[in-house]
Subunit: 205 residues, 3 copies
């Protein structure tokens, strides 16, 4: 099934972003695996805990773990022999993973009886949660809270997804509309460095 | 109902403390919403996950989310046109929210069959958990672990609450006793800068 | 029962590592208790939430909390009158606690129907999760992700445990094999400062 393949692709891509950070922190191989897991399945784990969808998804379907382990192995070998990747490779792959994760989160929340608003939030958590945990472990202000239109893309994708369902789209069609929305906003943001006006306190608080 | 109104008040106040931090970190509007949510409902979410009270409270009652969204909107508009607030406004509002959250956490834990000691801990988690997550995301040593008599006030409020129930007080009366205790200790701590003697290691560990 | 006593011992040891960190951060007594709790029961709490084993273990068995409270009291008194501890005392005690926590996590995950691979991961989470939360609260890159063969010892111990069960060992015997493995690897790592080759990115990412 298309969504499931994309889910595995997203898992691998998110794992890579964890692996790259682990490499910068000079971790040992098992530390690398830990950070890859946290990034790839952290968001969905929080979602499932909050929904009460336990045991969480990667306990019942261990394919996620295998994908992460294989990615770690390949990444560590490949990076020993690094080749030039175009700069946009990772952000674009990340955008695809993000879009799919949001759709899966929205979908699962609705299946557990959540309201559309909560479903959008669960989509955002699924997409962004893993990266937040990764950045917290690495002591950075979470990328999600800083990067151009990152959470924003997830929210808009989730809204299109739920609105599509509300107007009678099939489950898969609504998912694909949501994915297309999140993805195109993120790609546009990457391409043109879009960002929202930030909200800042002028007075010294 | 009084407790429910106070709960919504506390949610709004805690959201504001998240919004202020987001402003200092110069986040975009959706980052602001994320940090407001985390601060306002993070503690209760951990409590519900630990109790197994899933789906967690804000999934089943979306009023919490609406209050947070409205607060974000108002706060961003209001802070564009800042007016002088007295310095004690926020700490006092925060103390009220804290006291109510503790009472709600104690109450819910007992309803789920927890022992009084666990109920007090759940009260502390409900009151302090959101602020801890907020501070972790902003890379500060959590305020709760540093501030004068903050967790301490929660613990004493929770103890008064459960002891009151043990001696036959009605649910609402015991809650109010607990709230009064937490609140007055916090207000006293704010007013006179009370703090417990800290525990520090003399030897270089 | 042996495992249960060791579990309480591990809880106390992990609490001490939280207390020591709290002392370095100059927290007040209740902050100390909070950090001790987080370190000692944080890992098992994440495990239980992910498995859906709610209410989590320390809600149903409050002995864990009493052990932590007693440890806090004793530690604060003892450290007021510090005596020389041999340098290896804490790492060795920590290794014992770690080994036991891993075995308990593996065991509990299997009892909840997890696959062997997931059980090993749950063992690692049980052993390492509390320390990770502790370090995040103290704004350090988690020790677990840096220290010589820490997560690695847990993984190997968990694998021996599950493989033992697979080849027909009794529950207790398999647990003890797993504990012996984790413990001896950690002790060897402490004694000879073993570490895995780290994985680092040569290129400036």
């Amino acid at each position: 099934m298309l969504i499931y393949s994309l889910d595995m692709f997203g898992t691998a891509v998110f794992a890579i972003s964890g692996i790259l950070l682990a490499g910068r922190l000079r971790m040992d191989p098992f530390g690398v695996v830990v950070l890859a897991c946290v990034t790839a399945i952290g968001g969905g784990t929080i979602r499932d805990m909050a929904l009460g969808a336990t045991p969480v998804f990667w306990i019942t379907d261990t394919n996620y773990l295998w994908v992460i382990f294989a990615t770690c192995l390949l990444a560590m070998l490949a990076i020993q022999n690094p080749r030039k990747m175009p700069w946009y490779f990772l952000p674009v792959a990340d955008a695809i993973g993000l879009a799919v994760f949001v759709a899966i989160g929205v979908e699962k929340a609705l299946r557990f009886g959540a309201s559309p608003m909560v479903a959008v939030i669960m989509g955002v958590i699924t997409g962004c949660g893993g990266g937040v945990i990764r950045d917290v472990l690495a002591r950075e202000v979470p990328m999600v809270l800083r990067t151009e239109v990152y959470a924003t893309a997830c929210i808009l994708g989730g809204i299109v997804h739920t609105v599509g369902l509300h107007f009678g789209l099939e489950t898969a069609a609504a998912s694909l509309c949501g994915i297309a929305t999140t993805l195109s906003i993120r790609l546009a943001a990457i391409r043109w460095h879009l960002s929202l006006p930030t909200f800042s306190l002028r007075s010294s608080q």
